[in-house]
Symmetry: C2
Subunit: 139 residues, 2 copies
DNA sequence: GTAGGTGCAAAGTATTTGCATATAT
DNA sequence: ATATATGCAAATACTTTGCACCTAC
């Protein structure tokens, strides 16, 4: 129907699979939480020595457009994480600065809920701040 | 006790009161929600024609250090809002892009609550996404 | 073989800083 | 009078883009 091996909209071809892309995608897949760009670059370079920063940015944009990852902004820092991990939120440790993924959700707001003033809620995002297990134990 | 008109730590003097600072502080005080820097500049220029962008940034930093305002990062954009408005959250309209302050809080997490995994929660931040009253009415 | 991808370096944004002038105290 | 603040322009930091070479298909 579309001529190629998989169907992409007319005049558009499927992105090619390259070592750089595969590694960057996997780095995010196995990450313990959302990662910053320099961190992604470092982890990628461990497996693909010469990768350039531009490729990381280009790939992050590509993966974001595809929907397989998405950016999270936390305290002014832009982090990226793999999508499709289900509904979750983030915990930012005020002691060590690391960000963790939490699958517990402290909020229950069905889509369509109307807030005082007439705000129709479609989605929510929660960030918790405090001490991560390591830092809490160390305190 | 400290020699000056107000007490500041030794070797530090009180910031001076200037037209620029007063106006920038007031702009944030009367704002309907957190504002982006270009927006702050525009609103300030309406009252102090020649203000420079650098002064806006310097003043935002000063006010932040003083604690009278604080930055909020929302979808990669850095916004500033006056502090001391009590516990509140933000609503970001997915249609018009405006950000509003909401005083309703959908979360109840007493400080010290421990989340699964051992995360000790000290604070939380919530952002709701959806249609603002204007856009909901227009839909 | 060819379209698409990569690395490098140059170009854009956003924010910060240096310096001469202006201003609050 | 003098230290501090301002405005402009240069400097920084982060991200995007142009281009010649390389690689997946």
């Amino acid at each position: 129907m579309c001529g190629g091996r998989s169907c992409y909209p007319a005049e558009m071809s499927a992105p090619r699979s390259t070592k750089q892309r595969d590694v960057i995608a996997r780095v995010l897949d196995v990450a313990e939480g959302p990662l910053a760009v320099p961190d992604i670059l470092t982890r990628t370079q461990a497996q693909v020595p010469g990768v350039g920063l531009a490729t990381v940015y280009r790939t992050l944009k590509l993966l974001s457009d595809q929907g397989s990852i998405h950016p999270v902004t936390l305290d002014g820092e832009t982090l990226y994480e793999a999508s499709g991990r289900g509904h979750h939120h983030h915990f930012s440790c005020t002691a060590c600065g690391r960000v963790f993924t939490l699958h517990a959700c402290p909020v229950s707001i069905p889509a369509g809920t109307v807030y005082p003033g007439g705000f129709v809620v479609e989605a929510h995002e929660v960030t918790l701040y405090g001490r991560c297990p390591d830092c809490a134990a160390r305190a």
